[in-house]
Amino acid sequence: MFGGPSFRRGLRDSALIAVAVFLFGLAYGVVAVDAGLSPTLTMLSSFITMSGAAQFAMAGLLVAGPIPVLIAATGLGLRHLPMSARLAEMIGPQPLGTRLRLAFVLVDESFGLTLRAADRGVDDLVAYKSAADLTLYLGWLLGTAGGVWFGSAIDPEAAGIGVLFGLLFLGLAAPMVRSRRDWIVAAISVVATVVATRILPVAWQVTVAATIAAVIGVFIDE
């Protein structure tokens, strides 16, 4: 598996996304320490969680205490449920250790890459995703470390990192929008997200908007 053609393709396809993840990790390292999380706990959170959304929410809500943070993490994590189901379907029967390892780095970026790889007929999706997971995980850890130790020199907002990430996911979504149903679901998701940004807390915006669009999509023929 490791070193095979699918693994190498996963490394290649994820390399530039890993750079974006590194930048996002930089931003997280800065924000987390600024919010009062110690450098050690900031690094620990990246080692054991590997979730930009949940970790940023944690940093943002830290002052409010543990309960709001855990509620936000739950809301943000709900979108992993259909991703987990879809990944299980794509990889088929695998040893428990493999499934746990792939679950650990089930992030939006590696999920999107794996979906695209499946569409393109990549042979070994486990190897592919493993490679993507490795590069993204390293990018995230190195970025977090950079943010923690060089944070004072970095302004994530000035760098436009939030917008860059939005563009990254626009790019990942583009090849997935093919059928009439996909276009309608995408349009509903746009509207639902814009509305959600005005009326919902940050932790719920994406999950609620995506769920509404997907539920409506269930009743639309392709």
């Binding site: 943070v69 992993h80 436009g160 939005g166 563009l167 626009l170 790019g171 995506a210």
Partner: protein
């Protein structure tokens, strides 16, 4: 100590949601649940994209971000839905717009 509890709690919750359908091998759901799983990725990625472009700091901001979105859409058309075409043209439009309008 409470920060450590929070960090560990977030990690456990995040992993639990990710491993939910992977913990034991089972047949993929069919019917409406299967259809939901088919369309959810598109809905999710578009939601993340729009959220990052419209509200990168958690609340709506209609400035250079929209030019970035426009650039991304144009990039998707010009470069035939290439991930990097969308990203590169969108980033270019964003930074140029921000340089001009602030």
């Amino acid at each position: 100590m409470s920060d450590l509890f929070v960090v560990l709690g977030v990690a456990v919750i995040t992993f639990a949601t990710r491993v939910s359908f992977l913990i034991s091998p089972r047949q993929a759901p069919g019917g409406r649940v299967g259809r939901f799983l088919d369309v959810f990725p598109v809905a999710l990625f578009v939601a993340i994209a729009v959220n990052g472009l419209v509200a990168p700091v958690g609340s709506p901001e209609l400035t250079a971000n929209l030019f970035g979105a426009l650039g991304g859409v144009i990039g998707g058309i010009v470069f035939r839905r290439s991930v990097w075409g969308v990203f590169a043209l969108g980033a270019l439009f964003f930074y140029v717009a921000r340089a001009i309008i602030g």
